[in-house]
Amino acid sequence: MSDVMSTLRPLVARVAQHPADDITADSNFKRFASWGSLAAMRLLANVEQTYHVQLDLRSYMKLETVGQLATEIADRLGTAAAAHAG
């Protein structure tokens, strides 16, 4: 989870055009100045390209903080790893 957080931070910073050092697990997406549905979709595309996972859009849209997104990604990565292990 902390691993995901460290690589997720620059992605969020990129899409939100917000300094990476300022972004924590508690950062709320809606607080970013340029946030909106288009930015949310771009972040989703960046996340999926970077981590090679696919998120469910319904649960993704409910995420409020960067930390929640990191957990969601880590869950998907865990699922993927388990699937490959099987």
């Binding site: 460290s6 690589t7 620059p10 992605l11 990129r14 899409v15 055009q17 549905s37 288009l38 979709m41 771009r42 595309a45 960046n46 390209q49 970077t50 981590y51 090679h52 859009l57």
Partner: protein, 647 residues
């Protein structure tokens, strides 16, 4: 530069940091208004990560083309480009901006509100009309053409409805073009997977495929017939795109009909259109010969030895010739700029049975040993064309670097690597852009050839110092050993152009020379910032107490015109002096192909001996070692390998 990154290759922490570095670089540029970053345009042009380019494009708003490229923009004013789409196309705008800047085009981009394409085109008081676009990009998705409740059992009705809508869109576009003078770009529309799979029978699938192409034919027709209206075949273009047409989640959630990869493919094609409208199309293709228009080195392999024809790899070069001929027929001017013997080149161009291109296909054929950047500049002058209409294609990184360095306006195509890829490197991305063909295109070569003859001027022989200095050339010279001798023997046999006598010592004598105190065989290797050329030359020497004699000196034509020859002579003179000799002799014997080498010894200060030439034509050049000037150019670092006496 052709190592395009696959879209999915970014792993967290590796290329992700390269991406952040690029964005940081752009941020610094954007935040310091006077700053320039002349390499940025090339990076943007070769980057294929659509998501990264999107963020780059967002940050580049307000940054002008002159700040990201070394070449001057060709227009004083920004090109006004409008985007009107039947779906959510907001993401296309930053990609367009990045791609426009990559091509040196300043633009103002206007995005029409979502799905108002028809209204915006038709209403004379619309925001689109008020923007007065010079280029109007109409982006369409299948939803704008295909009825939502289309019935697979009544495909005739589907056809009529969809063709009708395409017709209306095309007429609205043509009407806008006619009324406002804007160039309007339509495109063919790919049919999404779900629609294709909605027809279950194979026969019905064939019918749907035909119908959909009829719909696209309506759009293509508009681009063929209406003034100011053009159509790009996006459906065909996407065959080579990196991923799926659309992401179903993005389409359902936000009516985004294209994935980032589709958006990028479209944006790059749309930018090619913008450049055409802005008059940025290239008009002249300057081609190298050896390993470009044919395989092999003419001076070494001879006219019968070069690779052309129907089998690999000759067929690659023949294909490039065919494509160049096709360009010539469409009005592109072809020229040759090659380091070669002119008479030999003329012989091949007119007489080689496998040549597709003939002398009349070229506006100029330049084959000599001068700098290519000077030749290209002179050709531009003679033809009365700007350097920004030139494309230069060559297999040598050295020549490409020299032209790119000296003439940043020229579009340089580096044809290294497998010759199978030469054709596509020249043709894609598109460089020779025209809106429509004209009747004079086919005659343009002869028109310009005449113009050039009228305006012939001699090229100046300026020194190449600045470029050569930047190359960081390192020449290594030392006694041949078991590793280098085989390559030296091969060079002695194969090298024709820079071969001072054409006389072959062969393996037995050469090996004996390496062991004898009275002789010396030297191996020469060359490296520069483009890489290591390896062993490229050899020298065979007699070491007398008073007099050293250079019996033969061969050097691969790959490294000519850089001062390497003089560096090698410097090494020889230094060793001779150290050994206590007073005189340096060097033999030259003219052969059918070694004219380029004839001037070396006189240029190095070795005067022709007073005696007549020997029976085999060999001429002795000589100098007193104490009187020889410094020979090595100051842009070369000489690496003297172990002293010859310690062999």
């Amino acid at each position: 530069m052709d190592g395009r990154r696959p879209v999915t290759a970014s792993l967290p922490g590796t290329s992700a940091s390269a991406a952040d570095d690029l964005l940081e670089r752009i941020r610094v540029l954007r935040d310091s208004p006077g700053a320039v970053d002349p390499d940025l345009a090339d990076i943007l042009a070769t980057e294929d990560d659509a998501l990264l380019l999107h963020e780059a494009g967002r940050m580049l708003e307000g940054v002008t083309a002159s700040r990201v490229s070394a070449s001057r923009p060709r227009r004083d004013s920004a090109l006004r480009v409008a985007v009107a789409a039947t779906f959510t196309a907001d993401n296309v705008v930053p990609l367009l901006r990045a791609a426009l800047l990559a091509e040196g085009v300043d633009a103002r981009i206007h995005l029409c509100p979502y799905d108002q394409l028809g209204v915006q085109l038709a209403d004379p008081a619309s925001a689109l009309a008020e923007f007065e676009p010079e280029v109007t990009l109409c982006l369409l998705d299948s939803g704008a053409l295909l009825p939502r409740d289309w019935d697979p059992t009544d495909l005739g009705a589907v056809r009529n409805a969809a063709c009708d809508r395409a017709e209306q869109l095309a007429l609205a576009a043509a009407g806008f073009a006619g009324r406002t003078g804007s160039a309007v770009l339509l495109h063919t529309v790919p049919l999404p997977r779900a629609d294709r799979r909605s027809v279950v029978s194979f026969r019905g699938g064939a019918t749907l495929g035909r119908i959909w192409r009829e719909v696209n034919t309506v759009l293509l027709d508009a681009g063929e017939t209406h003034d100011g209206t053009y159509t790009v075949d996006l459906e065909a273009l996407l065959v080579d795109a990196a991923g799926p047409l659309r992401d179903e989640r993005q389409y359902r959630y936000g009516r985004m009909a294209w994935t980032p990869q589709t958006e990028l493919a479209y944006a790059r094609e749309a930018v090619a259109f913008c450049r055409t409208v802005a008059g940025h199309g290239r008009k002249v293709l300057v081609l190298d010969l050896d390993n470009t228009l044919w395989g092999g080195v003419l001076g070494d392999d001879g006219p019968a030895g070069i690779e052309l024809g129907t089998t690999y790899p000759g067929d690659c070069y023949t294909d490039l010739q065919r494509r160049a001929l096709a360009l010539r027929r469409q009005g592109v001017l072809l020229a040759v700029c090659s380091k070669n013997e002119q008479t030999l080149v003329d012989e091949v161009l007119s007489g080689h049975p496998d040549m597709v291109l003939r002398p009349d296909d070229f506006v100029a054929v330049v084959a000599d040993w001068q700098r290519k950047d000077l030749h290209v500049a002179a050709l531009a002058e003679e033809l009365g064309l700007g350097l920004d209409s030139f494309v230069f294609a060559d297999d040598s990184p050295f020549e490409c670097g020299m032209v790119a360095d000296g003439l940043p306006q020229v579009d340089v195509v580096r044809l290294d690597g497998d010759p199978s890829c030469h054709t596509l490197k020249v043709l894609d991305p598109p460089r020779f852009l025209q809106l429509g063909a004209t009747a004079t295109d086919a005659e343009r070569t002869s028109l310009y050839r005449t113009r050039r003859e009228r305006h012939q001027l001699s090229t100046t022989h300026d020194s190449a110092e600045d470029y050569l200095r930047a190359l960081d050339i390192r020449v290594g010279v030392g006694p041949a050993n078991g590793f280098t001798l085989p390559r030296l023997l091969q060079l002695e046999l194969r090298t024709n152009q820079f071969n001072m006598t054409g006389l072959v010592h062969g393996e037995a004598v050469s090996r004996q020379f390496t062991r004898s105190p009275d002789h010396l065989v030297l191996a020469v290797d060359v490296a520069d910032r483009f890489g290591n050329e390896g062993v490229v030359g050899g020298v065979w020497i007699d070491r007398g107490p008073e007099r050293w004699v250079v019996r033969n000196f061969v050097l691969s034509c790959r490294v000519l015109s850089r001062g390497v020859e003089h560096a090698v002579l410097q090494y020889v003179a230094d060793r001779a002096r150290e050994a206590g000799a007073a005189v340096l002799d060097a033999h030259f014997r003219p052969t059918a192909r070694n004219a380029p080498a004839a001037s070396l010894y006189p240029s190095a200060g070795l005067a022709r001996g007073a005696e007549p030439a020997g029976e085999d034509g060999t001429v002795r050049h000589t100098a007193r070692l104490a009187e020889l000037p410094t020979l090595i150019p100051d842009w070369i670092t000489l690496d003297a390998k172990e002293a010859p006496d310690h062999v």
